[in-house]
Symmetry: C4
Subunit: 383 residues, 4 copies
């Protein structure tokens, strides 16, 4: 649409604006297939935990593997900067809200230690988990440390990852070369556009993380004006994946990353085209999470321009109950696997691939829905 003069802007959609229509066929949830494959790695469920220090430590990585999913450990976070990461986390939790950002900025200035990277990989492997660590392009060297220590895959990610970074200071990481030389699958993120995802696929990504700006602990859109609503980001990225698959025969999963908090969000992200989902806050709210009910974004530690803060997410349930239920509340935050299977079955989709093609509706969140929610809240409070 033209916003003024000849300047055009394209309408983008968020997940909250969408709803799924029921299918004409219903499928038994027990017959539904929701596995995910990244490179040669198979996962029983398409759920990844974000590389955020309040959500994932070696223990969570082990438990998440046991449950069939994948938790990514932040390779440049507190776990690899501090031998006693729990003490560092305890400091962040204890800090008053008005001074927590400066403290986080300070704590992440401590250098990353290669020996701790190796140690964390070994801890996860010793517990029977899949060890996957995340690094920024500048920290790609450390990714090699993780791989040598036995990591099953590595994640290379920044707020926005591109294959071309122009700087007068010299060239940046050559992603294509890195992927080629890497002995394990390389998951790359984050991207949100057709062109951006296509570039990462052509660079050799084994999986692409999709999402800029939608997470609860992220304020990128306020600070920089940048952000693509997640439904459009996923649909554009899925198109890039499908076109790349048609051209090359290589199917690379894309993962909706950020801003997903309910079973409904997950069902809709996949219906928009995702192969799986990555979640920070729901994992941070598990009993097992190292943040003990607190959560902060990766860009919170930026020295000059923090884009995120510490939020309190509480202790909801065990990771297993969050993923597999039983749900004891009706807010959609428990039993994600059950919700995904029932949502798929009701929409008439037997596989993730079919779910990517069910009928989508643009539905009024703020009119009908919004009013109803208000009402329900009011009467609920009175109960």
């Amino acid at each position: 649409m033209v916003i003024g003069g000849k300047r055009e802007a394209r309408r983008a959609y968020g997940l909250d604006e969408l709803a799924l229509a029921p299918g004409t066929v219903n499928i038994d949830p027990d017959d539904i297939e929701i596995g995910l494959r990244i490179g040669e790695l198979d996962f029983a469920i398409p759920f990844l935990a974000s590389a955020m220090d309040g959500a994932v430590d070696p223990r969570v990585a082990i438990e998440m593997s046991r449950l069939g999913g994948l938790a990514v450990l932040n390779g440049e976070g507190l776990q690899t900067r501090y031998a006693d990461a729990n003490a560092a986390i305890a400091d962040i939790i204890a800090e008053p809200v008005e001074s927590v950002i400066p403290l986080i900025q300070k704590m992440y200035r401590e250098p990353v230690k290669p020996e701790l990277i190796a140690k964390r990989v070994e801890e996860i492997k010793a517990g029977g988990g899949r060890a996957v660590l995340a690094f920024t392009p500048l920290g790609a060297r450390n990714a090699q440390v993780a791989i040598e220590a036995g990591a099953d895959a590595v994640v290379i990610a920044t707020t926005v990852t591109t294959t071309e970074f122009r700087s007068s200071k010299g060239p940046s990481l050559d992603l294509a070369r890195f992927c080629k030389e890497c002995s394990v699958p390389v998951i790359i993120g984050n991207a949100v556009t057709y062109a951006g995802v296509t570039d990462l696929l052509e660079a050799g990504a084994a999986c692409v993380l999709v999402g800029v700006g939608p997470g609860a602990a992220c304020t990128t859109r306020r600070v920089l004006g940048l952000g693509v609503p997640q439904a459009t980001a996923v649909a554009d990225s899925a198109q890039a994946r499908d076109d790349y698959f048609e051209r090359t025969g290589r199917y690379v999963p894309i993962i909706a990353d950020g801003g997903l908090r309910t079973g409904g969000d997950i069902c809709k992200a996949i219906a928009c085209g995702a192969d799986g989902v990555m979640m920070g806050q729901p994992v941070a709210s598990s009993h097992e999470a190292p943040g003990k009910g607190h959560h902060w974004g990766m860009a919170t530690s930026s020295a000059n321009l923090p884009r995120g803060t510490r939020v309190k997410v509480g202790h909801k349930a065990t990771l297993e109950q969050i993923l597999f239920g039983p749900a004891t509340t009706d807010d959609g935050t428990l039993n994600f696997v059950g919700a995904l299977k029932l949502g798929m079955g009701t929409a008439g989709a037997a596989t993730i691939r079919e779910m990517q093609q069910v009928e989508l509706l643009i539905a009024p969140t703020l009119a009908t829905e919004g009013k109803r929610d208000q009402f329900a809240q009011k009467v609920g409070q009175g109960a």
Copy 2:
């Protein structure tokens, strides 16, 4: 509309987004015809009460019949699981809000008893009411028990009802065969799409309930991402009914079910194409309701994935005053029949069929309306 890549989504509308334009002719409300016919059963008013345990018990069914409408009893609810259903309801009411969902889950694990089904039918018939009970497809056997005990009709309903349910465990209820062999009208629900309603009509439904997700005690959209805004659901379903009628000569009423709470909602649902409306919460808020001012959705009792909770709805008025007035408040929750007739008369519609064709507007709920409501509330509080 394209939301990204080639992925399309269709804009769907909720009732709150609509308004009716006045007609150029006005009709005396006393001359307006609002009857409803389901199979061979005639009803003076097109109002049905939902098969929810907080809203309908035999006493409400009898009173609703006396007033010209129809209350459906939950054939798989507390009334058919417990001889002393009132005691069971009392337990649910007394439970603190944080533990009420687990309690509801537990109480609905008690088996349904055929003898109680027969007993409830007999109680309603003894009081001079029309006995109509609702069952899930899995409980269709029990529907036969109700029919043998003298039920006037049966309802077969789940969140989404389709004529085809695929499961490796074996075939599900053959709806077409069930309707054919049934000696009373079969009301089927819920559906929300053209294809879904068409299938149910072709299976032999005597009436179709329309609505997935819009009720106050339902959180399906948050949990599963599923839901069709009610204006679009009704309009699509009405089209299916009209096309089927043209093909077959059989006119099957469709009932807007869920999310209707005011006279305005009712007028708009019929203007979108419904032949009648089904309401849970307004009935639950009557003096006669068994829930004593409390209300919970049918999916609240789901063992793994509850989609609803107990809400407090209060004691508004008698069922008769709710339906026929006089209204003593201006919020649209009293005198539904008067509101429907005055709304129809002002829109220039003398019959339900004419009301289905009056002029509809998409009107800004959240701009003009929303602000005004806020204002009115503020000054009202000060009064």
Copy 3:
């Protein structure tokens, strides 16, 4: 737009969704002409006060005339039912909010007395004011009483006024004949559609009131589902006026009635095509208003289906200060004449007729504006 099946709905706009663009020419507010002519009656300013009992009594009618506008007295309200109308108003004001609707319903059951109609007309004329009283079509006989007592014009109005009312009880008022036989201008309302306004114009209306549902003390949309957002209602009605003028050479002003509360609302209503505005609440909030800071809609007294309630509007300023300033607040509720002239001058319109053609924008109330308002409020509270 299609909302489902083949069912169409037209997008209608509220005033809050609009903004005016500045013109390329600016005009000195002192040079701007804002007069209004109804039949042979000239008014210096295009402001009418609604026939609501909390807003207009003979004293307000006299003062409003003195200021150049017109206040309409309710010919079927407390002033013509009770000799001591002030005592009746005092009872309504004193009643607790939860029982005020039943009290209002009861008080308006007292019959209208022809002798009081004549008395009110005489009081207004004695004070030098223009006497204009409002009646429903059923009370048209009483309009003759008012005319014989010296009324300058009469208003015939109901929620929706049509030239055709179908009832098995017999014919209703023949508006065309009434207008023809009437010796004073007949103002008719309310209408909101092209066809509805055209019918009233052809029946001989000297002025048409436009608006159904937008007022602060009116809940017609919630109760009946009926209502046309005011910007669309005015623009459609203005088209009817212009087409009728082209056909007949008779220019009949249309008055935007209801929901206008700020200078911005007034400027926008005229930019949508109105020749003047009618306001209830702003007049009710004047020092002179009989409601002493309270306000209730005409449909509040409906015996079976009240559509309105008593709202507290406070004592803002004198009628003169509300109309002519100076403003001492920045919320747009004072100095309506100054706001209209400055708004017109900035938009580049020297006359009401030019203002009806300035550039209109659909502007985001709830995005940009909404957020900013919230912010301003927050910092304002802290000041």
Copy 4:
């Protein structure tokens, strides 16, 4: 779009409705060029401070110059009416909120004194700053006083500035002649339309301020109905600039003025086509601001129709930290230069001119974003 009859309205967009998509190339923020040129004056950063008395005094003008930007002093404000402007400001700050508008109206009735104009220019020059003062068209004589005292440029501005003002009282300022005869660059504002900006460019403006109604301390839209959402205003104005540049070869920068409060707002305003931004509130919230944490709009002092009020904006940080960081909060209100450079780099723009062409999205503020913000706030409060 047609809003009714044949009446058309154009959809306009606010900055909050937009988001920027990341580019496929990323650029090192250290390599990004963000300079601004007005006439012959070069500025290192494209940030201007508004001529508002709570934001700018000679000291702020000096500091802003030192930092590479430009602060405009109100030539008809307290600084040029009162020798001891600080005392006058102190009175406004001390006044209770309910009577502050009348006090502001009174204080701005004190005449502007040419000798104070000269004195303020000299103070700024003595401190090494660029002296730029703002006047209304009626005060153009005083602009000459400022120029003679050594001002580097002058601003001629009112709410809406047009080259043609029609008044029976006689002709107004001839802007074209004023610009021609002026020895320093003339910045003119405010305009919001293609035609309006084109007229000012052809009159010889060295820079045009764009924005009517969007500021936090401005209520023009509520009072007059006037206002153009800033994204559309900037895009239309940028088109006028580009077309004028193509016709004449003279490139005149346009400055987005009003309603900008975060790094995201700034990035988006430039992406819509602005060459720079002018900010009131962020400057008023600096430690150096004369308002000591208070801010009021220029139209607040209007004698008859105030459009603005005093708002409390607090003491956020030094001007240097606001502009250059480091940020210690994540709300986007600190480190504007860093945010602009990182936003540009992420969007793939190396220059302001490139930033004016990056991909824009219309993104749901109120659906996805809105809900998320609420959530973040809720959990944040609990932390």
